[in-house]
């Protein structure tokens, strides 16, 4: 699913009126979440190695079993037929998205180690994966055959994203390196710098941060990477959530965005909204928050305090809802419109 679909609703999103619409509960911590492209379901991955599917109309929960270890990444084909999942065992799974009791249709050993992210192109024929083995790989959606391997990252790769035209793939890593790949040649087209989100913390001997999520604006004007800044104690979770907003055409830094207050945590997910704002979710020792930024501003124009630390978000196809995944096992869906009167 393209994380930046066009708005399909006649209503306009109003972040300031965000309110909880659905509170869907699983018994174990959640890791990530995705709406399906048709808006029927919302999916989540859990630390119990299962994938959860909630029917948004009935709230019915279906458990998809198949992963041996934690699934970190979920993605769908634009037609809403196939769900992909990948996680710490490095295997890419194909699932029939809307089957009554989905079972894996195909498994491909995709990476040595974790799959951190999955993306599907707009045509729905290519699926991209990236992982801790520092590689970016392309696969045929139809038969699971390998299409290309794109070497270039020197650290674990955290995110992949197709540019809407399908010509380019974007990947980002632990060092804040963003690579734009030309899919006509499978070569690097250019590199962009989001290293403000990364640090090598010498006293603890660790690389930390990196681009935790990516989103391209609907008009292709800017690319947003989220993560953290000012990590004064990575092992102790002392850092601040932040976005890097890059001019997509020029590749230059437009904004380093951060909360006005000294909120500790990591920005785990970000989406560019078609109405020219950016929504980001953070989690950490200060709690969980949804943040709303204008692309040309440093600080948020609105925030929502979440019921638990945030770990991921997704924007619904109608661009009116935000789903957030939480450690407390809740998947919360917020509506960005006026709350219906009781």
């Amino acid at each position: 699913m393209n994380p930046n679909p066009p708005a399909t609703s006649s209503r306009t999103a109003k972040p300031e009126q965000s309110h909880l619409v659905h509170d869907l509960v699983h018994e174990k911590p959640l890791i990530t979440c995705r709406f399906d492209p048709k808006g029927r379901f919302v999916f989540a991955a859990s630390e119990d190695s299962n994938i959860l599917r909630w029917d948004l109309a009935s709230k019915a929960k279906t458990v998809l079993k198949g992963h041996e270890t934690w699934p970190f990444a979920l993605e769908m084909t634009p037609d809403g037929a196939t769900l992909f999942s990948g996680g710490s065992e490095g295997t890419l799974f194909w699932w029939p998205l809307d089957a009554k009791s989905p079972t894996p249709q195909r498994r491909v050993d995709a990476h040595s180690g974790w799959i951190n992210a999955i993306a599907v192109n707009a045509a729905g024929n290519l699926v991209a994966t990236c992982g801790n083995d520092r590689s970016v790989r392309l696969w045929s959606v139809t038969d699971g055959s390998p299409v290309a391997q794109l070497p270039g990252h020197e650290k674990p790769v955290y995110r992949v994203l197709f540019e809407p035209s399908g010509r380019y793939l974007i990947s980002a890593d632990l060092q804040g390196r963003i690579i734009q790949w030309d899919l006509a040649t499978y070569k690097e087209a250019r590199r962009l710098d989001a290293s403000k989100l990364a640090i090598y913390f010498a006293s603890q001997g660790v690389d930390y941060g990196g681009v935790r999520d990516l989103s391209l604006s609907a008009d292709g004007a800017y690319l947003v990477g989220c993560g953290l800044i000012e990590a004064s104690n990575p092992l102790g979770a002392v850092s601040n959530p932040a976005n890097v907003v890059l001019d997509w055409k020029e590749g230059k830094l437009l904004q380093l965005q951060r909360p006005k207050e000294d909120i500790k945590g990591v920005a785990w997910g970000v989406r560019c909204h078609a109405s020219d704002f950016i929504v980001m979710v953070s989690g950490g020792t200060s709690g969980g928050f949804l943040w709303f930024f204008k692309p040309n501003q440093t600080n948020e124009f609105f925030k929502v305090t979440l019921g638990n630390t945030g770990r991921a978000l997704d924007l619904s196809p109608d661009q009116l809802h935000v789903a957030t995944a939480h450690h407390d096992g809740h998947l919360r869906v917020y509506g960005m419109y006026e709350k219906a009167k009781a």
Binding site: E47, E68, T69, G87, Q204, L235, G236, T285, N308
Partner: protein, 430 residues
């Protein structure tokens, strides 16, 4: 307890380790007298002729037993990693240790450790001394024990060398009542001791003249007032000069390019290769610290990074020590101050946990391929073979031929080498 230097021996007049760590510090260190003796001196002579060595790899901050030696995949505490087979049938360890897994037939695991200690400093003390920290009492670190009772006075190299990831180290108090002579020499970031080259302004002839003058003055002073203190200063200078001639021992770039690549292009890999070099040069006790495992936040990504480095350096060390015949007389211990909680916190982290955790042992005096102790399915408690730091310390001493129940006379106070409440783990001893 501080060293009181009551016996008049020249053994403890000056911290030779710290002196060698910074030779320009000169002779300004206040000297005092003191010594500890075995009540039964047989042990000292028994050990003098044995060339036992020790390598400790210290995973600073508290490595997770679940991401190393005692994985619990598929459970709510197991985290995202799987376990893998090893060269010992039936023994599985974390998938983060693939190279080590192939050498498991050289290694034994202790999976039932309960130290009941979740504080960094207290855990460090306990694991280095085999005793709980008590106010007003200080016991010598394992390295100081080794330097004193396993080391050779004839060896110009320090008996206890600690390679740290950054600069510096502790304050030299780790030798406690054994005296500063047996404190650690720290190689910050694996660098050679400072001031071990001749100053550029002094040529070789000038250097010789300076030392001749020093020797003449020492001799003149000693002819009238010869004391253990002056003897110690003289000895320290001569040992420092010998060390200067062996400075290349600390230069890991003297190792082959192939070995440097094999151990890894990271600090821990270089430090492991330096450890091999020091052991081959006859250093009695070498400790390599790897930092940092205190992963309250994002435990899994940090362990992926850190344990990957550890696996490369450690496996090459074990492989090389075995191939070169050194493992037979070198005890290799991998330990931390504690383990990490089975419970995964909301930051994807694991917190301090002294209740049920693991270490690895190999080499001298240790059976290989053994797993001692067991934890329950979720790793939340020890269900079999529970041991504490005292048991481990007794085991280390026994493994290198020391008797942990021997008594020392420290200024009239009888102190047992190992904690009297502890005992060696017989199942692990070869």
């Amino acid at each position: 307890m501080k060293c009181s230097y009551a016996c008049g021996s020249d053994d403890h007049l000056l911290s030779r380790r710290r002196f060698l760590g910074g030779l320009a510090a000169g002779v300004g260190v206040a000297s005092q007298f003191g010594f500890s003796k075995f009540v039964q001196p047989s042990i000292a002579t028994e050990l003098q002729n044995q060339a036992k060595q020790i390598l400790v790899i210290w995973l600073a901050g508290g490595a997770s037993q679940l991401e190393t030696w005692d994985p619990k995949p598929g459970t709510e505490t197991g985290g995202p990693f799987r376990s893998i087979d090893t060269s010992v049938p039936g023994t599985r360890i974390s998938e983060l240790l693939p190279k080590t897994a192939r050498l498991m037939h050289h290694i034994s695991l202790v999976r039932g450790i309960n130290t009941k200690e979740n504080d960094h400093a207290k855990g460090q003390y306990m694991m280095h001394t085999g005793r709980p920290e008590m106010p007003g009492v200080a016991h010598p670190h394992f390295g100081s024990m080794a330097a004193k009772y396993l080391g050779s006075e004839a060896n110009p190299l320090p008996g206890y060398i600690h390679i740290t990831p950054g600069g510096g180290g502790r304050t030299g108090t780790e030798s406690a009542y054994l005296g500063p002579k047996y404190a650690a020499l720290y190689l910050g970031n694996g660098q050679p001791p400072s001031h071990t080259t001749r100053p550029g302004l002094v040529d070789e002839k000038g250097e010789t003249l300076r030392h001749d003058l020093r020797r003449r003055m020492n001799d003149r002073f000693a002819s009238r007032r010869r004391t253990a203190e002056t003897e110690a200063y003289t000895t320290t200078y001569e040992q420092a000069l010998q060390l200067m001639t062996r400075r290349e021992v600390f230069d890991v770039t003297k190792e082959s390019v192939q070995d440097q690549e094999r151990y890894g292009n990271h600090d821990f890999g270089r430090h492991c290769l330096l450890a091999r070099r020091l052991l081959e040069s006859g250093v009695t006790y070498v400790q390599v610290s790897h930092s940092n495992y205190d992963t309250h936040n994002e435990n899994f990504t940090f362990h992926l990074e850190q344990v990957g480095e550890f696996d490369q350096g450690y496996s090459n060390l074990i492989d090389d020590l075995a191939a070169r015949g050194l493992l037979k007389h070198t005890l290799v211990v991998v330990m931390s101050e504690f383990g990490r909680t089975p419970q995964i916190n909301y930051l994807y982290g694991r917190d301090h946990w002294g209740t049920a955790w693991s270490i690895a042992l190999a080499g001298c005096g240790i059976k290989s391929g053994i797993v001692h102790g067991r934890t329950n399915a979720k790793g939340t408690e020890v269900t079999d073979g529970e041991v504490n730091a005292g048991h481990l310390y007794h085991t280390y001493l026994r493994a290198v031929g020391l008797n942990p129940t021997e008594d020392l006379d420290v200024d009239g106070r009888i102190i047992q080498l190992g904690d009297p409440a502890g005992a060696a783990i017989k199942e692990l001893l070869a």
